[in-house]
Amino acid sequence: MPRFSPGDSLPGFVDAARVQVIVISALMMRELHTRYGRENLGFVWLVVEPMMFCLGVMGIWTLLHGRVERGIPILAFVITGYLPLTLWRHVTFRAIHCFRANSPLLYHRQVKMIDLLIARVILEIYGMMIAYLVIAFVFCVLGLYELPKDWGLFYAGWLYFIVFTTAIGLIIGSLTEMYDWSEKFIGPLMYFLLPVCGAFYMSDWLPARYERIALYMPTVDAYELLRSGQFGPSVRTHYDLEYLTFACLVLLAVGIMLCRRVHRFLIVE
């Protein structure tokens, strides 16, 4: 049997990172089993759930707005709007009391609180990416969806969304652990942010004054980036890359700091 001390006997950053990768992947396997079980579709739900959501909204929007509005194909607009939104919403709601729910696992000291959250985020990202691939493939074949014009910008938009989402997850996971009442605000807050977040509009549609204000919301910048990759130069987009990077990194730093703080006060069962 291999001798292995997860604590001190593994010096150096590389080994620590390796332990973390092992722990996170084990947590992901475990999460798949606890959430989806082995019955019926199992972990395929991870993909089907966001897909149902996206397909439904695509149908409704196409009925209401037709195939093209303001020179933008509605289908692609909805896909680029809804999938990131679903990622953000899922991670937010999964993060609530995430640490408490998993506290038996913290009996193993190599399992850190941040790993619990990262495992969940990565699973959601997988689900969302596969959902996108399936939807994009099917509607591409049907001739209703055109692939992104600039993959670099498209990926960059996703990447910022992922960093933003992770940061929000860390913050919410920690805050709900520290203050029970904070959980009550998340539902309303997410609802109010829905029309603001940028999923349903382009900043170019707004009067110039509001456009500048809208770009203070990091998700708006990320959406614009993503959509400039999707639609190419035919659609006018506005985003402030420096501000977006700055905002995401600040939120991430706050999230990590809160997470460490919670660890100091955590009582394991």
């Binding site: 001390s5 604590g7 038996p104 696992l105 009996y107 193993h108 190599q110 009582i267």
Partner: protein, 215 residues
């Protein structure tokens, strides 16, 4: 060696902070078997959680110079909604143990049979203890942290622990919290008596037990 220096732990409580450990120092060299004695609420479990590094002390440091098990006790360790098998797989992954060897040993040690395919939340306390001990012995730690859980085991479990942990692995360190005087006297070679947040070290277990009963 496990070295803990100046351990202080304060639990916030609701407006009434509770000082559980007040400047506790512990050193456990390899092979040493340390008993933790103290009344209910004296801080034995808290000390074990600090020594295992799953909870952080308010101040003070804990250093591991050997591999240390997770606390074998009543709580934690397993995800209740998952089966014994899934929990075994998870633990073998995070401790990088070979799953086949591990499961063969645990199957033989814990004798849970088809219960391994049931969610752990349906297990009795004794069955959980058997699974946890089986796993931790299979992973081969240098030091085992054991929190009172012996009391829940049946005779067969005690005999198996005697054979696999105390006889065959007598070179390992143990830190055991227990109220069972006979067991402590037979197993341990030194003791720490906890009272009012302070720890008193005894080289002689009998003296420690006498002091503990005198309290």
């Amino acid at each position: 060696m496990i070295r803990a220096e100046g351990l202080v732990k304060v639990y916030p409580g609701h407006g009434v902070p509770h000082l559980v450990l007040d400047n506790v120092n512990v050193q456990v060299p390899r092979g040493r078997k340390l008993a933790l004695l103290g009344r209910n609420g004296a801080g034995k479990s808290t000390l074990i959680r600090m020594l295992s590094k799953i909870e952080m002390p308010t101040s003070g440091t804990v250093v591991h110079e050997m591999s240390v098990s997770w606390p074998l006790g009543f709580g934690g360790t397993f995800q209740g909604s998952l089966t014994g098998i899934d929990n075994m797989k998870f633990i073998s992954r995070i401790y990088r143990a070979d799953y086949k060897k591990l499961s063969r040993f645990v199957d033989d040690f814990a004798e849970l049979g088809k219960f391994l395919y049931q969610p752990v939340k349906t297990y009795s306390t004794g069955m959980r203890a058997r699974l946890a001990f089986g796993l931790s012995i299979a992973i081969e730690f240098d030091c085992y942290l054991i929190d009172e859980v012996f009391l829940v085991g049946d005779q067969r479990f005690h005999a198996r622990c005697q054979e696999h942990l105390f006889d065959r692995r007598s070179d390992r360190s143990l830190i055991i919290a227990s109220h069972d005087a006979a067991f402590v006297e037979a197993t341990c070679d030194c003791a720490l008596v906890l009272s009012g947040g302070k720890a008193h070290y005894f080289d002689d277990v009998r003296q420690a037990l006498a002091a503990y009963h005198f309290m």
